[in-house]
Amino acid sequence: MTRKEWSHLIRIGLLMGLAVLVVSVIGMVEKFNERALIVGYLTLGQLLLYIPALYAGYTSVPAGEHRAMPQRLLGGVVVGLLAVMPVILLILVASSWPGIRSYFVNISPNMVKILTAGKGVGPGIGLLAGEMAALGLIGAAIHLIPDRIRKPIVTAIIFTVGFALFSDVSLNIANQLFARKTVRVLFGTKGITPLATVIVFVISLVAASLWTWKGREAYARRQANMSSEQAKRSQRIATTVLMIVLLTLPWVLGVFLTDVLDRVGIFILMALGLNIVVGFAGLLDLGYVAFYAIGAYVTAIMTSTGNLGMGLSFWLAVPVAVVAATMAGIILGIPVLRMRGDYLAIVTLGFGEIIRVLVRSDLLKPVIGGAQGILNIGRPTIPGLTFTTPQHFYYLILLACLLAWFISGRLRDGRIGRRWMAVREDEDVAEAVGINLVITKLLAFAMGAAFAGLAGSLFAARVGTIFPNSFELLISINVLCIVIIGGIGSLPGVVVGAFVLVGLPELLREFDEYRMLMYGALLIIMMLVRPEGLWPSPITRREMHAAEENAAAVEAEHSSDIRAAVEG
C-alpha cells in the first residue's frame, strides 16, 4: 500500500476511534446500554460502539477507488483496530486510576464493565479489539458483495435494528391484538427477543430482495404504462387507504403513542406555517414561538374556568386566537419589511423574547398569570362528546394539519406562491417586475403566524394548563430545524422532519439529556450529506442538482483547460 492509502486508513480509523472515545466519556454508552435491542445479545450502547467501526471499515477505501481484495480486507481490520485504540487507552486509564472520575463524571466502573463485557480488563480489551477488527473487516467486505445481494441484506439489517429500537410502537400494537403470552415470546420489556429478530430479519430480507430484484422494475413499468385515468384511480385509492390509516391510527396505537402523535401533529402544524415564511418566502424568522404563545394564551384566557378566564367555548376561542396571532404577525412584519437575512433573524429573535418576557412579567400577571400560568383551560366539546383523551385531540389536530397542508399547497402553486418564490430568489428584481414587497411579505408572516396561532390554541386545549416555560426560544429553533431537516419548502418534508425531531425523541425519552447533542450532530450530518433535507421539494432538489451540474461543468472546463495548457 502507498503512503497515501495508509494515511487515509489512519485518518478514518482514528477519527472513528475518537467518536467511540467521546460517546464513552460523555456517558452515552453507559446510558444507552440500558436499552436492549435484542434481549440478551445486543444493546443500543453496544451498537453505539460498533457503528463507528463498521463505518470506518466501510469507508476504508475512498469512494471511486479500487483495491485488490486482500488489501481491502486488511484495510478494514486496520481501521477497526485503530478505532478501538483510544477507547482501550480509556479502559486502561480508568481501571488503573479511579480518581479520574472526579474530572470526568461519566467514566464509571460500570462503563469499564460495559466496554470490557464484564470479563476483566485483559480479556475484555482483547475481546473488544477482536470485535472491532471483525466489524471493520465486515464493513470493508460489504463492498465485495454484488449490489443485488448487498442491497437487500443491508436494508434488512437496518430495518431490523430500527424495528428493535422502536419496539415500543409494535409492542403497543401487539398488546392490543394478541394475548399477553404471545407478546412475551416476541418482545422483552425493552427490545425484541432473538426469535423476533430472526422473524423480522427474514421477512424484511425477503421483501427487500423481491423489491430489489423484481418489484422496483415492475413498479416503474406499471407506473410508466398507466393511462392518466388509471393513474388518477390509483391515486384515489392511495389517498383513501391513507385516510383510513390516519383515522384508525389512534385506536391501533393506544393512548401513549397517540399522545406522541398529538405532539408531533402540533409541531407539524407550526412547521407548516414556518415553512411558508422560511421555505416559500425565504424570510428567516427566529421568533416564531411568539405566535404560538399568543394563540395559546388567547385560548387559555377565553376558555379557562379558573379565576383568570372567561369560561367561553373553545370554538369561539380558536378563531379569535388565530386572528390575534395573525395580527401579531402583521405587526411584527411591518417594521422588519426592509430587513434582510441576518438582521431579520435577529429582530424576530428579539420579538420572540419580548413575548416570552411579557408573558412571564409581573406587569401582566393579573391578566395572564405570570409564572403560575393559566389553569383549568376549557376542553372543546361537541354535542355528546368532550375532548379529553389524546385520541379525541388526535382528530382535532389531524383536521387542523390537513387544513394547513391543503392551504399551504394551494397557495404555493398559485400566484402568491410564485411571488414568494421570486422574493426569496431576488428581492430587488421581484420588486422591479411589479411585485408589491410589502403585501407579499406581510402575507407570508400573517399566514405563518395564523398556523402557529392555531397550533397554540390546540396545544392549550390539549394540555389544559399553560406556563411561560412552554414557550421558550427552543421551540422556535425546534420548528426551524424541522423545516430544514425535512427539506426547506417541502410539505411532506415538514411531516417527516416533525416525526424525526419530535416523534423519535419522545420514543427515546430516557436519553433526553443527549437530545440537543443528537440534534447538533444530526444537523451537521444532514448539511454534509443531504443539505436538501430528508424529503426535499422538487425546487430544492433542482437547486442542488443544478449546483452539482454547474460544478461538474466548471470542473470539466478546468480539466480541459489544464489539458490544453499541458498539451500546448
Binding site: 400566484r415 430587488d428 420588486e431 422591479a432 417586475v433 411589479g434 411585485i435 425546487i539 437547486e543 451540474e549
Partner: protein, 269 residues
C-alpha cells in the same frame, strides 16, 4: 403628448458624487433611443432612476403623463416600464416558464386566497397566464424550454428569457441594459433584429444602453451621450459619430486633440 417619457433636469447624488447631473431627456413614442457613454458615465444610474430603484434628488420624470418621482419600483413597473439587467438577474432557481409568469404580475389581479377556495376567476386567469407565457416563450425563441431551470439555460437564452420576462407585463417602455453584452457577432445581429421587431411589430418603445457601436448606430433613432453624469451630445447616429466632444469623451482629450491637430496639419499642408 408625443413623448412617452420626459425627464427634466434629473440629478442623482451619492454623497459627494453626482452620478447624474441636470439631465434632460425624452423618449418619443414608438422609437428606439440609446444612451451611450464611457464606463461610469451614469447610464445605469439613470436607468435605476427611471425604474424607481433610486429616488432622484432633483428634477422630475414624467411617464405617459404621470410623474414617477418617488414611486416604488413595483408601482412604476405596473405603469408600464420594464427592464433587463446588465448582469443577467433571472430567478435562477425557477424554471423559464415560472420566470415569465412572475413577470406577468402587473397584469394579474386575482386575489391571493383564490387558489384556496378554487375560485373560478383565479383558475381562468392562471390558465390564460400559462397560455400567454408559453406564447411569449415561443416568441423569444425558447420553444420547449419552459421547464428548464433558468440558470441551466445557455447564456444567450438567458438574455432572451430576461427580455421575455420584461415583456410579460405588457410594458409600454422597455429598458435594455447592454442586451448584447458577451454575445458573439451572430447572436448580436439576431438580438438587434429582435429589438427592432419588438418596436415594429408590437409597438414597444425601447431605451437601450449599449457598448457595441454597431448595434447602437444600427437601430437607434436618437442617441444621447453621457459623460460624468452630464449630457454632452444628443442627436441621430450620423451626427453623434462625427461629434468631437463624443470622441473626446471616449478617447480622452489628448487623443481628440491630436486627432484635430493632425487634421490641422493636413490642412496647413
Amino acid at each position: 403628448m408625443s413623448n412617452l417619457l420626459e425627464a427634466t433636469r434629473v440629478t442623482k447624488r451619492f454623497g459627494g458624487l453626482t452620478a447624474v447631473n441636470d439631465l434632460s431627456f425624452s423618449i418619443p413614442r414608438n422609437s428606439i433611443v440609446s444612451i451611450i457613454g464611457p464606463n461610469g458615465a451614469g447610464k445605469t444610474t439613470f436607468f435605476n432612476c427611471i425604474t424607481g430603484f433610486y429616488v432622484i434628488d432633483e428634477g422630475d420624470i414624467v411617464f405617459d403623463g404621470h410623474s414617477i418621482k418617488g414611486k416604488s419600483p413595483d408601482v412604476i413597473t405596473k405603469m408600464g416600464i420594464a427592464r433587463t439587467y446588465q448582469n443577467i438577474r433571472l430567478f435562477s432557481n425557477m424554471s423559464a416558464i415560472e420566470n415569465i409568469l412572475v413577470g406577468m404580475e402587473p397584469r394579474l389581479h386575482s386575489p391571493w386566497f383564490g387558489p384556496v377556495f378554487g375560485l373560478r376567476g383565479t383558475k381562468e386567469e392562471e390558465e390564460k397566464a400559462n397560455v400567454d407565457a408559453n406564447q411569449l416563450l415561443n416568441f423569444v425563441g425558447l420553444r420547449g424550454k419552459g421547464d428548464t431551470l433558468s440558470s441551466s439555460l445557455p447564456y444567450g437564452d438567458q438574455r432572451r428569457l430576461e427580455i421575455a420576462r420584461a415583456l410579460a407585463g405588457n410594458p409600454k417602455l422597455l429598458l435594455l441594459d447592454e442586451p448584447t453584452a458577451g454575445m458573439n457577432p451572430r447572436e448580436t445581429a439576431e438580438t438587434t433584429e429582435f429589438i427592432r421587431n419588438l418596436r415594429d411589430e408590437i409597438g414597444i418603445t425601447v431605451l437601450l444602453i449599449e457598448h457595441d457601436m454597431r448595434v447602437v448606430m444600427g437601430i437607434s433613432e436618437d442617441i444621447t451621450v453621457l459623460d460624468y453624469g452630464q449630457k454632452i451630445a444628443q442627436g441621430p447616429p450620423v451626427e453623434i459619430q462625427g461629434n468631437s466632444r463624443v470622441i473626446e469623451a471616449y478617447l480622452g482629450r489628448g487623443a481628440a486633440g491630436s486627432a484635430q491637430l493632425s487634421l490641422k496639419h493636413q490642412e496647413a499642408a
